[in-house]
Amino acid sequence: MTSLHPAEAARLLVEIPERGGSVIVATVVGDNQFTGNRIALIVIEKEEPELRGSLSLKSGTGSVIQLMKNILEDPRASDGLHELTIADHLSEVYIEIRRPVQELVVVGAGHIAQPLAHLGALLGFQVIVIDDRPEFATRERFPSAEKVIRADFSDPFRETPLHTRSHVLLVTRGHKYDYACLIRALRMDPPPAYIGMIGSRRRVRATYVQLLEEGITHALLDRIHAPVGLDVGAETPEEIAVAVAAELIMVRRGGTGAPLKGVERIVERFFKEDK
């Protein structure tokens, strides 16, 4: 085996996460004879880990593989440089890591779903749109979605089972549809990563009353992000979509949702007026 070609490595970084797997590519970038050599480690659940390419050297590959395994186990790991001894030489290895692609399931294909699907795709989600109306669930209305599915709201996830990488957004045209989808999403084991539901305070309350009557626990209710989105005063469908997208980023990155100005307080801390 020889070094992995950059185009092949790039393809793995795209395809493995789409199949629900993780992939790490290590490239020697230090100034030595192995510079430019590439190796990839592919880890897909329930499958044997697989190596692609080699560093074209007899010894030292083991230390790179060990590094890749360590990085894979660190949930906060990101792309970057690492120093490493390869075949008795101190080398620099550049690591790229891609985790399984996260999925955004937009239930309801109305006017808020359209900008939401766009923003979701921009943020790196694989977007799936579901509606029961064939004239709304069309590819033309959702060009950036991975899949557009026509399904009854009584069993919306039959074709696309939810999993732990699913982010479900309920934006149907009526609260009875939201309720039907919500109760299915809540009963999933293991639960989806995120459940958000649009709606006024009244609509959300009415849904929760029904859920409690159905025997859904308070703890489960608390998992629902409803009304969905950050408070930015959004009114138009596009603005609402941005507010919802901002919440998805907040959940993904662990932010607070507060304005950075207030967090940093630069004027107050560094430019105090002398009194």
Binding site: T2, H5, A7, V14, T35, S78, E96, R98
Partner: protein
Amino acid sequence: MTHDDDRSLTQALEAAREAGRRCALATIVATKGSTPRKVGARMIVDPDTGLVGTVGGGCGEAEVIEAAYKVIETGKAQRVNVDLTDDLVSWSPAVCGGVMDIFVEPVSPEFS
């Protein structure tokens, strides 16, 4: 790099390879201070079709493109250090106050 960035980069690399063209791939492998793009940002320099992606634009990118042409010619990878700290008050778009460490490598069309 978003998933979409990864995808367009892959397509460009494969297109160059299928057409039998030699190109260069630039990757920001480390940064210090404030830089327009972060670690992982990539750009392909293809003498026939131009640029795909960006490592931040401005003077810094011009340096990288110059290095890329050399890399394509020699077939030898190179590290480029782009210093954006020189003049913080000039308000030039290339001035961000940071340093970027960029790996520029040749991409041969040969199948290994």
